[in-house]
Amino acid sequence: MNYVKELLDQIGLGGERLEMYFLSSAEGARFAEIATEMTERIRELGPNPLRNMEAKL
């Protein structure tokens, strides 16, 4: 995980786009919480800049 986050930082995409959580199937509420948290984070960061480049062509 740390390696991939570092790699994403070096590439310029940002390691904060990636996160890993451990939780069991019984933790539905926690899952929803994490999904909301990640959605907010990604909204703040904006869309993947590479996808924008592809779309422009």
């Binding site: 590439i11 310029g12 995409l13 590479l50």
Partner: protein, 234 residues
Amino acid sequence: MIIGEQKPLDEIKQMIAGYHKILILGCGTCVTVCFAGGEKEVGILASSLRMATALDAPPLSPPTLGGRKGGKEFIEATVQRQCEYEYNEEVADLVREADAVLSLACGIGVQTMNEQFPEKVTLPGLNTSFLGQPTEQGIWDERCQACGNCILDKTAGICPIARCSKSLLNGPCGGSKNGKCEIDPEVDCAWQLIYDRLQALGKLDLLTEIQPARDWSTSRDGGPRKIVREDLRL
């Protein structure tokens, strides 16, 4: 084996700045085993560079992933041993097709490629670190300095040239404390290791033999080294 470590992506990006089509060439031997320059690492580096160079390209000439118009193109290949002409011959066509080669082999592989394909520049994607051994998962330790005159028979199979910080022949020195070296409390004192093993083997008497000043001409002091085996020559 030869232990290598990939250079930082920024350094690699600067190195390849002037080239468009780049062959990333891995090596299937030492650097594969130490997870620095094998087929898997070639794939990861190629993907990283495709994305990174696309993000860096000026907005007026939008680059793309996958090597289409505007961006850099990366070809991926891995040979069994980049330090031998025969294996590199297999990728000769890819080399000719590329503007430059980014090698993920050790310094020997990089130089072999430059000698074999003089019309193409082969750049080093790795730093060649040392001759060593994987001592734990994810940890490599230096074991040999290729001094050309092995004395492991006298030192209980533990090399003081590579593993003693001073390369002492008659150790330990005064910097040995509780089995550790004065340069770093994490580093074992090689001479403590030698003493302990000789004791376990019942061969401590070997330590009473004083090693005379060494002939370093077999090491780097004599310039670049060469071995000629007439029995093997064609």
